[in-house]
């Protein structure tokens, strides 16, 4: 759990993403769109290859936020745009998603906003990513 005073920087947290993670997420979420597991379908629709579910990447950001906030029950709002696809190669090393945050004030007592920066390589993969969490600080 981190101190959540406005102005504080959080992270970065790093998450390695492999093809097997996408298959596991597909099963857990019920989103079986083949662009997240089939190279053939992904390239047919013009993608660079199999890409992570946008919601998987946002799920990783939510995981980081919950850890900083001291528990999943302290997350009040979470959202982002899906700006760039996260292409995941078919190898053991996969790719790494990096999540960092900046704490901002809100108008509501006991709540702060966390503006998130979520990147893969040197690309920002989520846009306008932010959370509102409960804070005791």
């Amino acid at each position: 759990m981190a101190r959540l005073k406005p102005g504080v920087s959080l992270g970065p947290a790093h998450f390695r993403v492999r093809r097997s993670d996408l298959v596991r997420y597909a099963g857990a979420s019920g989103d079986f769109n083949p662009i997240h597991w089939s190279q053939r379908v992904a390239t047919e629709v013009g993608l660079p290859g199999v890409i992570a579910h946008g919601m998987y990447t946002l799920g990783l950001a939510g995981r980081a936020v919950a850890e900083w906030a001291g528990g999943a029950d302290r997350v009040i709002e979470l959202g982002s745009r899906f700006t760039k696809p996260v292409a995941v190669p078919d190898d053991e090393s996969g790719v790494v998603v990096e999540v960092s945050g900046e704490v901002k004030p809100t108008d509501t007592a006991g709540r702060v906003r966390i503006d998130l920066t979520v990147t893969c390589g040197d690309q920002k993969v989520l846009g306008m990513a932010r959370a509102v969490v409960a804070s005791d600080d």
Binding site: R24, S29, L58, A66, V75, E77, G79, S80
Partner: protein, 150 residues
């Protein structure tokens, strides 16, 4: 097949009741790799004031996704699935989803904006228990590219 012209403001029927189990919550927590005890440890969840283990913050997508899928498959809506991209997603939490919840989602279209051959369909899925308790509102924008020649 064109997009229905009167989409904005329309509300669709509730999704079938969805039973949330402890195993599903654990499987979702495993999938995103979190080790937060609130997802698996009943004592930890109770100590934090929850009647049962709670789901990760993005778990509501499982129910919202059913509502979005039914909406996109509705022939009256006029969406071609292969032309759709999920362009943003936001959750406003009323309370964490927990094991034992039976949930339904009601999806409605907040607005439709045209931008360079793409329709940006802003949707809202209100997720409640079957007893009517508000759990989460999930906002999603679906970008629908106009079919070639349309």
């Amino acid at each position: 097949m064109p997009l229905a012209p009167d989409l904005a403001g329309r509300e669709f029927p509730p999704t079938p009741p969805y039973d949330v189990s402890r195993s599903q919550i654990a499987a979702f927590a495993d999938a995103i790799g979190t080790d937060d005890p609130l997802h698996r440890d009943l004592d930890a969840a109770r100590a934090a004031g929850h009647p049962d283990v709670i789901a990760p913050p993005t778990f509501p997508i499982v129910v919202a996704f059913q509502a979005m899928s039914a909406f996109m498959a509705d022939p009256d809506v006029g969406i071609e699935l292969r032309n759709v991209v999920h362009s943003d997603q936001r959750f406003e939490v009323d309370r964490p989803i927990r094991a034992g919840d039976v949930l339904t989602a009601v999806i409605s279209v907040e607005s439709v904006r045209q931008a360079a051959g793409t329709a940006l369909i802003a949707t809202r899925s209100v997720i409640r228990t079957v007893d009517g308790e508000a759990v989460c509102t999930a906002y999603a924008t679906l970008a629908h590219r106009a079919p070639e020649g349309a």
